[in-house]
Assembly symmetry: C2
Amino acid sequence: MTTIKDIAKEVGVSVATVSRALNDSGYASSGVKKKVLDAARKLNYVPNEVARSLYNNKSRVIGVLVPDISNPYFPRMIRGIEDAANENNYRILLGNTDQNIDKEKKYLEIFHQNNCAGIITATWTVEKSIQNLKVPVVMIDRVNDKYVSVEADNFKGGRIQADHLIEQGAKHILIIAGPEKYSSFRNRTIGASERLNDLKINCEVKDSISVRTLMDKSDVKFFRGFDGIICPNDMYAYEVLSFLNENNINIPSEIKIIGFDDLEFSKWVSPELTTVRQPIYEMGKEAFALLIQEDEKNKRNILDVELIQRKST
Amino acid sequence: MTTIKDIAKEVGVSVATVSRALNDSGYASSGVKKKVLDAARKLNYVPNEVARSLYNNKSRVIGVLVPDISNPYFPRMIRGIEDAANENNYRILLGNTDQNIDKEKKYLEIFHQNNCAGIITATWTVEKSIQNLKVPVVMIDRVNDKYVSVEADNFKGGRIQADHLIEQGAKHILIIAGPEKYSSFRNRTIGASERLNDLKINCEVKDSISVRTLMDKSDVKFFRGFDGIICPNDMYAYEVLSFLNENNINIPSEIKIIGFDDLEFSKWVSPELTTVRQPIYEMGKEAFALLIQEDEKNKRNILDVELIQRKST
DNA sequence: TTGTACGCGTTATCAG
DNA sequence: CTGATAACGCGTACAA
């Protein structure tokens, strides 16, 4: 690896001068500057980020924490973060936590050890472990009064789910609620059920675990009690779809189904899934922008959602 | 951040002694050692990886290059790499290249700047850009005589696709070939077509672009000429499935379809997709193991594949 | 057994 | 405008 020292030797100046010439900082006569630049190119010089990080006590790396990258919700989010990072000359250190608090703590420490410039996290237990980090933190799809966050408009999304099913003529609606502890899921459920109650539409809220149990027991009768189902996300909707298909219940004529997320695969299930699109990629980009933003930033950043109508409703 | 200097001050010894005590290197009296360890814990000391990297000219970070993490093929691979890396106290710097050679070059340089200990890559044009890297490189799903590689047994996979369709009674088989330039796709096609030819089964090979054109033109007649379709991967199979479903061609009774990969979603399409499973997660783990393996390593590492029979055949 | 001193590559300060 | 030097945090010869 060629260093500024090599360049200095080549050109016959001091490392200080090389550094100044390379960084346009301080002064450097245009003659020397040119010679330094030429030598740098000739010797294939690339600055050593590690040395820079050590000097600055800060690297151009940000830590990104997700529960599990295999969960199809996250890749596009990460892609958004990375694209934004790339544009700003930052790189990404990736960590999967499996929502395990020990893994989270370990990664937080690793990020710290690596002088990471900031952290973007989509994990849940993290609030207990993120304690006194000195670097900025942005949470995605998660709200915490201590940190800046980016989320989709889950309330509105829930209302859209409800409104759409009503428009399509549903009269008895099942709302499958996602895990209680996640604010995003909670808000969707609240948005949908409030709207349904306001409109005096018959509805029942059931948590995802018990609905899955019902499917395991092949309790078709339960589902026949409804003509519309609001799912907490697309992945869950795939399961429901699959179960109803197997039991020869026609979708959408007998039961209409709507998801949440708009994963790529929602185009491929049968019938194609109607869903509420949340801008996952953009949320990633936004999270990065907030992370490096110097000036005053909003604590809560809520991105809009929209209905994507397909064949399941 | 507390450093060894702080510990030294606390305990009243030199930084050298602290370093030795912490690393069990050189000598340190057990009394001092204990005091150092206690102070380290008390002060919440964590070693600074950046300083270590600088000193060693090597970090505990590896660079991982994929075309696009949004492509559902890659997340599980990355997860495999990360799990293995984690077990060995390494971290992952992630780069998406979009198969753009400039992005690849840029990331290669970034990895270099960050003293990365090695590189795992799943991108294709990289062979032209990876030139004289001084760190180990492992390619996934890609073969190159210069580097160590991990791949699935694509030949065998192709033969499995062919055999299975034959077993299920197909007589006129369409093989959709993936992009010619990727050895993995090429080998699948070769495996399948050789087997079909050996067995004198009627078959036609067509490239994926032109088949997609046929679907765009809604040329159902073309597809009706076959009773079995071998797809280059699961994603492509979803498209075919969707097209045939729309055109009311019954699967599997009229046409049988088999994919390749066994993505998670193959369980959710309708009918559920029969496919050849390649061990993507394990390939990631294996790639990492090879990367840090010191002793003699195989140039080509081929992992086994298996038939996953579902409802589309 | 311990401390001093140096180097890893970079940037900033300060004196010339 | 330029060069010598200190500093970032760590690890290791070498001297004591």
